[in-house]
């Protein structure tokens, strides 16, 4: 069963068209990965899926519901969550506040306590640094926090853009291991990766995006 269906999506920035009809389906409870060269539009596809940019054409269905025109915060309420490229943490806020903000959507609020325990178990490093400003943490720690914040959103579908970027291989392996655990908890995952071999190793399905179509 597909939990997310992206069909013939066309979009871009201003006048510039980037996606020329992209289609991608996510099987519920599986890890899917999306690879493709630099600048082909992977991030653009994720941003369009979340509603940060409007699709020009095509449709996006989440759990059978047409969500093509919904704003990002409503999609987060439904359980569609993106860990964006470049982390986009709340750099002026503390680690624990970032985690709290992750649990802003209506589904996640009541489960905050439980999810924070889960996240600290996965990333003990964060537990040691709850009071530190997110912007002052190391790159790897920030990446952990970005993923942790996504998990705090209690996602049904978790999309992660460039998880491994700038991280030591050991850490990447550990993060992939955590993702596998998440999948076993029933969370559907979409990985966008440059690190093709590692990504394919943990994925159940793979897509290649080339020249904006696939």
């Amino acid at each position: 069963m597909n939990i997310l269906e992206i069909k013939d999506v066309v979009s871009g920035y201003g006048e510039v068209q980037i996606l020329w009809g992209s289609t991608l389906n996510l099987q519920v409870g599986k890890v899917t990965c999306l690879v493709g060269g630099n600048g082909v539009g992977k991030t653009t596809l994720l941003r369009t899926t979340m509603g940060l940019i409007r699709p020009w054409q095509g449709s996006i269905h989440f759990e059978g519901q047409d969500v093509s025109r919904l704003p990002p915060y409503t999609k987060a309420d439904l359980g569609l969550v993106l860990v964006p490229e470049g982390r986009q943490l709340f750099t002026d806020m503390s680690v624990v506040e970032n985690l709290e903000m992750g649990a802003s959507n209506i589904r996640a609020r009541s489960k905050m306590k439980q999810n924070i325990e889960r996240v600290y178990e996965m990333f003990p490093r964060l537990k040691e640094r709850t009071g530190q400003k997110a912007g002052t943490m190391s790159g790897g720690e920030q990446q952990m926090l970005a993923v942790a914040r996504g998990i705090m959103a209690d996602p049904k579908v978790l999309m992660i853009d460039e998880l491994s970027l700038g991280l030591a291989p050991v850490l990447v392996l550990a993060l992939f291991e955590s993702l596998r655990k998440l999948r076993d908890l029933g969370i559907t995952i979409l990985l966008v990766e440059q690190n093709v071999q590692m990504a394919l190793a943990i994925s159940d399905y793979g897509y290649v995006l080339s020249e904006g179509t696939n």
């Binding site: 915060y73 987060a76 959103a153």
Partner: protein, 263 residues
């Protein structure tokens, strides 16, 4: 403080700040003279009206230009400024009013302190304290900080950023209205007198670091101290010259403000 909140959250310089201070003053006047409400109780009404007015101004005038270059938002808030002054002039003319209300005075050595001023200072501190607690301890307050810090990320996490921005603008306006309601208890005022206070707010905001509410209070205290000390050494008319001189020096030397705002 309201000015600095709005700047901090949405990078909009709110030029309608002054007339809203003036509206706060008239709010206090109307409540006291026409309805016989104690000016301090009236602050609650003024605060609520300020919050609503701010949200309306945001939705009507500011929302559309929030991502536009600064000039657009300056013009938009300046238009709101002109509209309020125009309507206010029609309703109250530009002649001075005052709220004839006294809380006695306290004698400290050779200087005497008006009770109304003392209470105003206390209320200002109370409001700053509450604002701080609101921003750092409550969920909506943290949403405001999150949106200020990274609007797109806030949206991705499920925070409806437009509502949060409207709330922030409403709070900023509320603070200006409260300031007006307080000032009205000890100074005469007209619909135009907000302008002078708006300029002072800029100086204070820059002193304390725009976007930093506690810095704004500290900046305000500093300015207050300066204003009372300068006349001891020179003509009182030099006060604004010194203030704005200081303003420019700080902008040049430490643009993030004495108490270092973010960015």
């Amino acid at each position: 403080m309201g000015l600095t909140l709005i700047w901090g959250v949405m990078n909009v310089i709110n030029l309608s700040h002054g007339p809203i201070i003036a509206l706060g003053m008239f709010g206090s006047y109307l409540a006291f003279i026409k309805l016989g409400i104690n000016p301090y109780l009236a602050l609650f009404l003024i605060a609520a009206a300020g919050l609503l007015l701010g949200i309306v101004i945001y939705m009507v005038a500011v929302h559309r230009v929030i991502n536009a270059p600064h000039l657009s938002s300056l013009l938009a808030t300046f238009s709101v400024n002109m509209i309020i002054i125009g309507l206010g002039t029609a309703a109250f003319t530009t002649s001075p009013y005052n709220v004839d209300f006294s809380m006695g005075q306290i004698q400290i050595g050779s200087t005497s302190l008006l009770g109304t001023r003392l209470i105003a200072a206390l209320v200002a501190m109370l409001v700053t304290g509450s604002l701080y607690i609101f921003l750092y301890r409550t969920r909506p307050g943290k949403y405001i900080r999150a949106v200020a810090n990274n609007r797109a990320a806030a949206e991705l996490m499920g925070i409806p950023s437009t509502q949060i921005l409207a709330l922030s603008f409403g709070l900023g306006t509320m603070l200006a209205a409260i300031a007006g309601g307080l000032i009205a208890t000890f100074f005469p005022f007209s619909i135009l007198s907000g302008g002078g206070y708006e300029l002072k707010s800029f100086v204070i905001g820059v002193l304390g670091g725009l976007g930093n509410p506690v810095g704004a209070l500290a900046g305000g205290l500093l300015l207050g101290v300066l204003e009372s000390i300068i006349p001891a050494f020179m003509e009182a008319s030099w006060v604004p010259v010194i203030e704005f001189g200081l303003f420019i020096v700080i902008l040049l030397v430490k643009p993030s403000g004495l108490f270092g705002a973010k960015k």
